[in-house]
Amino acid sequence: MPALAPLRVVVCEDEPLIRRGIVGVLEEQGFEVVAVAGDAEDLVRKAGAHKPDVIVTDIRMPPENTDDGLRAVHRIRAAEPGIGVLVLSQYLEEGYVLELVGDRAEGVGYLLKHRVGDLSVFIDAVRRVAGGGSALDPDVVQQMVSRPRTASPLDALTSREREVLSLMAEGRSNRGIADALVVTVAAIERHVTSIMSKLDLPPVPGDHRRVLAVLRYLSG
């Protein structure tokens, strides 16, 4: 491994035990946690001050204990587009995901909170988001893909194509998808072309643009 500077992280979580756990996992994996915050205002302030590579934050937190975290994230993304944001959520709700992503899937992620315990998924998500990619929770994506629909072009997808579509929506690159399914990148590229054609989606450059297109398709 080349001696790259460690990725800088701000962690925001109002529950001290969990906050300590998240920080522990991140530091164990070589991230530099430059600041921790306990509420939404604190997060906005510390994100502005430290300009980290990525923020890892909860949704429900003071002051209002509703979706304060999401609202803070919107302010930070608007002010500092370069900061990646990974939201840890207790809710398997596509509504939050769509609201979080808005019209820019670049450098944004949404994971169910207990994924913190699933090291490979969690760390991979933090790195992707820090690098400007997207990382959406597999369960949320699964819910969106499998939602019953009347006469949808999705019905025309093969089961392998549906797997590939889900992984695209999670924000993985073709290489990432190929690794996950243990096939070649070329095979994935063929699947992707077929999917985009069946869903009548124009080819888009960049993984995060592809995420946005697929999300819009699935939620429309």
Partner: protein, 500 residues
């Protein structure tokens, strides 16, 4: 004087009379008392002018020489023959009696009948008794008596009517409901004491004034006048004989809700209306209190659900998350040396993760946080994602008051659960729209239909209660084979529509 004496006196001067002296003739001619004299055969020998006039003749010669009975006494008022044998005058002529009859009918020259009272006095003549008959036309007296009788009957009737009306009025007066009568021109004709108490008017101040200016609030007066005019013109009733609720006005100008029934009273030749009015302020208040109480109960239950959900998220779920993270940290720390410990830690982490999923689903079922955070659109989207059939969402509202959002959410949830259980539907549709001050929620499916509300679905009953607590209405349209539509309409006030 006794009759015997009269007969005696009458008998005395008669022979002296003989042919009437000029003096006597002049006296008889001058008096206004009709008199005629007949022979023992009943032939008229003399009639004075008053007698001629009373019987409608031109002069005495038309009478004299004729048999009195056959000339003026031959028929009864009903037109039947009057036999001479039955005539009381026969008693005078043959028996020498003085005869007085008060209620006879004689015939005038033109054949018409005239009521007569007479006294016949016998006159001793050669071969029997002649008769001197003094008589009077009693038509005027009879008419006067008749008029008197009629007046008495009228008075008796009027007294009876007055007594009946007094009883009637006393009944209305004592009624607990307000009773007000109004004539066709809209003027008050009666105002009972309940009305006095309710409206704060004295009957004497109100009777004679128009109903519109006394108890109808200004905003309703034109409608009242128009309605009365329209009814009088068309006779097509709109408010008659049914119970309606509207607003009335007290003497002090304050307005209050009343229940009104108007009936038309048919008096001879005039139209009257009677209104029975009941002050329903208390009943209305009780209804509103009931609705408010129901709403409070449901809101309290919703708040409790929200709290339980929050506690699950902030408590148990956080603790599980914490356990999962710590198990992961322990797994990293234990590393490769102890495979048995590592596999136990992995199993524990998986178990805890499943517990998190269960808690999340439990919390979402109790009161989804996304409803509080994102409103109905997000919550319904999440709700329908887990159903086994596609649901088209058409949600044209942004945010509403929490109590309404919760009720609408659970309404849709229960309705869609019913679709999943019973409808055999291939698709469903949820539509929410705000039209003015009214929210309409419609859940429809393409299933078998024929849902019967009374089929014992406590879920449906609960839905009705929730909607009723919001002062809304619930309608179920479920034709067999045409699917089922549940439609709730909920009034929105300014506070309930936060936006959208």
């Amino acid at each position: 004087m006794g009759e015997a004496a009269g007969t005696e006196q009458a008998r005395e001067p008669a022979p002296a009379a003989g042919p009437a002296s000029h003096e006597l003739d002049a006296i008889l001619a001058s008096i206004r008392q009709p008199v005629y004299v007949a022979s023992s055969e009943g032939v008229i020998t003399y009639a004075n002018q008053a007698a001629v006039d009373a019987l409608g003749f031109g002069n005495a010669s038309e009478l004299v020489g004729n048999n009195g009975h056959w000339l003026v006494h031959y028929k009864r008022p009903d037109g039947s023959h009057f036999p001479i044998e039955e005539c009381p005058l026969t008693r005078c002529r043959e028996g020498g009696e003085t005869v007085t009859v008060d209620d006879d009918w004689w015939v005038r020259k033109d054949g018409s009948m005239v009521p007569i009272a007479y006294t016949a006095t016998p006159i001793t003549m050669p071969g029997g008794f002649g008769t001197a008959i003094a008589f009077s036309d009693i038509s005027q007296r009879l008419a006067a008596e008749q008029a008197l009788r009629e007046r008495e009957v009228d008075r008796a009737r009027a007294n009876a009517l007055a007594a009946s009306e007094a009883r009637h009025r006393a009944t209305l007066e004592a009624a607990l409901d307000c009773v007000i009568t109004m004539d066709a021109t809209g003027h008050v004709t009666f105002f009972n004491s309940a009305a006095e108490r309710t409206f704060g008017h004295q009957a004497s101040d109100v009777v004679g004034r128009t109903l519109a200016e006394t108890i109808v609030p200004p905003g309703l007066r034109q409608a009242h006048r128009d309605g009365l005019a329209r009814y009088l013109a068309t006779e097509q009733p709109r408010v008659l004989d049914r119970r309606i609720e509207l607003t009335a006005m007290r003497a002090d100008g304050s307005e209050f809700p009343v229940e009104l029934t108007v009936t038309r009273v048919n008096l001879v030749g005039e139209i009257m209306f009677t209104g029975y009015i009941r002050d329903i302020t208390e009943r209305r208040q009780a209804q509103e209190d009931l609705i408010a109480a129901r709403r409070r109960v449901i809101e309290a239950a919703d708040a409790a659900r929200r709290q339980v959900t929050r506690d699950l998220h902030d408590g148990a779920q956080q603790q599980f998350v914490n356990a999962v993270i710590n198990l992961q940290l322990a797994r990293q720390a234990s590393s490769s040396e102890d495979e048995h410990a590592a596999s136990l830690l992995d199993a524990a982490a998986k178990e805890a993760a499943r517990g998190i999923v269960s808690l999340r689903e439990l919390a979402a079922g109790i009161h989804p946080a996304v409803l509080t955070d994102g409103g109905l659109a997000d919550a319904l989207s999440s709700l329908t994602a887990g159903l086994p059939f596609p649901v088209e969402l058409d949600v044209q509202v942004v945010r509403l008051a929490p109590s309404i959002e919760a009720s609408v959410y659970f309404f849709c949830s229960e309705a869609l659960t019913n679709v999943a259980k019973h409808a055999e539907a291939s698709a469903a549709r949820v539509q929410l729209c705000v039209d003015g001050e009214r929210l309409t929620v419609e859940v429809s499916d393409d299933g078998v239909g024929g849902a019967v509300p009374a089929a014992g679905s406590t879920g449906l009953l609960g839905l009705g209660d929730r909607i009723a607590a919001l002062d809304g209405t619930l309608e179920i349209i479920s034709e067999p084979a045409l699917g089922t539509t549940l439609r709730a309409e909920i009034p929105l006030d300014e506070a309930s529509a936060l936006s959208g």
